[in-house]
């Protein structure tokens, strides 16, 4: 019997959702969100635990988790920056933001800083085109950015 990694809070929150869906498998996407909120990313052991909770094969969890970009199958830094580089944001200077991050943090897009503080990624359209350029910092949107604002934001992060 493998040791449980996820807290009771996970199980309580998931049990609340059970009556809202006609199948158990439909709980999978919500379960992965709740699990990841706890553990930051989804290591194989957590995916196995989710599989066990729902009652499906671990491969079924892996195939779903690896399909969606928001599920982290590798560890991410404390601050996960996802800078949109799709059409509208590129038109309003997103590429300069990416360049600035890479230079300032000394990493390339997709990487995490050695102190595990920052992960920077390019992202597809976030639905904030009217306030471009935009990015996600963990769960929050930051819009109407420019290099100065971004710099200030990064400096302010503990």
């Amino acid at each position: 019997m493998t040791k449980k990694i996820l807290s009771q809070k996970f199980y309580d929150e998931m049990d609340q959702l059970v009556p809202r869906y006609p199948t158990r498998v439909a709980l999978l996407l919500p379960a992965l969100h709740v699990a990841q909120a706890e553990t930051g990313w989804l290591p194989p052991e957590v995916m196995e635990e989710v599989a066990s909770y729902i009652g499906i094969h671990p491969a079924q969890v892996k195939e779903v988790a690896s399909f969606y970009t928001m599920y982290n199958l590798k560890p991410v830094g404390k601050y996960h920056l996802k800078i949109c580089t799709n059409v509208a944001c590129c038109l309003r200077g997103a590429e300069a933001l990416v360049e600035h991050c890479e230079r300032k943090l000394g990493i390339v897009c997709g990487e995490t800083t050695r102190d595990k503080k920052f992960t920077v990624m390019e992202e597809e359209c976030l639905g904030a085109c009217g306030t471009a350029p935009a990015m996600m910092l963990n769960d929050d949107y930051h819009e109407n950015l420019d290099v100065q604002k971004l710099d200030g934001l990064l400096n302010g992060l503990e």
């Binding site: 194989p44 094969h57 491969a59 892996k62 690896s66 399909f67």
Partner: protein
């Protein structure tokens, strides 16, 4: 029955049939990769797209059900252009492995590329490659060859009832794999290689052993259990290289379990006794038979008949037994704990049965009963093929064996008279439904092994010509 027009040919069809099958009946081939009649339809490969009158876009034939009066063109300019483009798309990342790939010669990608593709590619970018994870002892995986038809995934979830083969990532990076290099769990893993249209999933057992165009195929029946799945034996120069399922919609559809698929190895096993033996030493047939007779003379005898033998063999034993061994008890054996046909039952929800021999139900039909109590006599004559599990005979003083044995199994036998495996003889077996099916000889008897009828005739000092079973044939037929 409704009719439609395919390439100008009028075809009758049963309502609900898809266009690939309707065309097939009219002798028209529509190429496809992801479609499989035994699996759900996904219409992913897009290779089977055809032109249908009144529909502006090309339609995939697999997912289109024929309707009355439908007019279909499978070789219109647009359909041909699509076939060429799909082949080009599939080959841009496919390695030119044909010279080293087992699938060569029976590869859908090869065949359809030759028939429907162009002879060149315009791709000059870098090719996508994957690292291969091991999948266990049955299947060899080469992900670079995969064309993402997803037949293997669907086989796993729909037939083998296990969600172990999955697609991870998405888009061009999609990889078909088990999780984290885990071996395949299913007992039906061999079918993954059957459904794969390329050399991406191949059998480790068959890897690099024989080019498929050398193999001669014999339709027969599996002896692995009492279901009697239909099977093909593939051999060359009297060596069996592999067994594949043969389609039978009423018994096994398109599938074969691994136990049945790999059962044949014992036929060519170097440990198999192929020469007559007396007292543990190889000798000639006359001496071996004499030694057998001597060993059993005057003793109380039990005759054990393997339920892996055919109806013809069992009938012969039944007829001759009172003449040769009056008073001897006759029992069948085969699967420990299954002593009668009524105890046979499904072993899983797919194909396998609890009886590990093919003809249990046939022998009981002949009113031969199973061995239920420990053997009480001091002598045993055991007659079997290669499947029936030998009961414990350590306490029996004298054992004579006719049929298929290894050296180890027959180490303390007074005499061994080598006989034929299922692959070396014709015969009738009866499955759990009472269905009669025919074993067909695929290879000539190995070594000095003889058909049971011949052995029994020699035992009774009769000439072969007087009593030859209709089902026994000479070697000429196997050639």
């Amino acid at each position: 029955m409704p009719k439609c027009l395919i390439d100008g040919r009028e075809v009758e069809f049963a309502p609900g049939t898809n266009l690939i099958e309707v065309a097939r009946k009219a002798g028209i081939e529509i190429p496809y990769f992801c479609y499989h009649p035994g699996l759900t339809i996904v219409a992913q490969c897009r290779m089977c797209a055809v032109e249908i009158e009144k529909m502006p876009k090309l339609q995939t034939a697999c997912s289109t059900v024929a309707t009355e009066g439908m007019v279909v063109k499978t070789r219109s300019d647009r359909a041909v252009q699509n076939q060429k483009s799909i082949m080009e798309f599939l080959l841009i990342n496919h390695p030119l492995d044909c010279p080293i790939c087992d699938k060569s010669g029976e590869c859908d990608l090869q065949d359809f590329s030759f028939k429907y593709g162009d002879a060149y590619s315009r791709y000059t970018e870098e090719r996508r490659t994957y690292l291969d994870l091991d999948m266990g002892p049955v299947i060899k995986k080469n992900m670079n060859r995969c064309i993402h038809c997803t037949r293997c995934i669907r086989f796993g979830t729909e037939v083998a009832n296990i969600h172990e083969m999955v697609a991870v990532e998405r888009g061009n990076n999609t990889e078909i794999t088990t999780v984290d290099g885990r071996p395949l769990e299913t007992d039906y893993a061999g079918n993954y290689a059957d459904v794969c249209p390329t050399g991406s999933l191949t059998l480790k057992d068959f890897r690099f052993r024989k080019r498929v165009w050398y193999l001669k195929k014999t339709p027969t029946v599996c002896e692995g259990c009492s279901r009697g799945c239909n099977m093909e034996i593939h051999q060359e120069a009297n060596t069996i290289y592999r067994c594949l399922p043969r389609e039978n919609m009423e018994i096994n559809k398109y599938w074969l379990c691994d136990e049945g698929r790999f059962n044949f190895h014992y036929v060519n096993d170097p440990e198999r006794v192929l020469d007559p033996k007396a007292g543990g030493n190889v000798t000639n047939w006359e001496d071996a038979i004499q030694a057998a007779k001597t060993a059993l003379e005057g003793r109380k005898l039990t005759v054990l008949v393997g339920s892996d033998l055919t109806q013809e063999e069992a009938t012969l034993i039944q007829e001759l037994l009172p003449k040769v061994f009056p008073g001897a008890g006759l029992f069948h054996f085969g699967t420990p704990a299954i002593t009668s046909a009524s105890e046979d039952a499904p072993a899983d929800k797919i194909l396998k049965r609890k009886s590990k021999t093919a003809n249990l139900h046939g022998l009981e039909k002949l009113k031969i009963h199973g061995l239920k109590t420990p053997i009480a006599t001091e002598a045993v004559l055991v007659i079997r093929g290669g499947r029936a599990v030998l009961p414990d005979m350590k306490s029996i003083k004298t054992v004579v064996g006719i049929g298929v044995f290894t050296n180890t199994q027959s180490g303390n036998f007074a005499a061994v008279l080598p006989g034929l495996t299922f692959a070396e003889k014709n015969g009738t077996i009866v499955n759990f439904e009472g269905r009669e099916q025919k074993l067909k000889r695929a290879i000539l008897p190995l070594g000095q092994s003889k058909p049971l009828s011949e052995t029994l005739m020699m035992w009774m000092n009769r000439k072969k010509a007087e009593h030859t079973s209709a089902m026994e044939t000479t070697g000429a037929e196997a050639r």
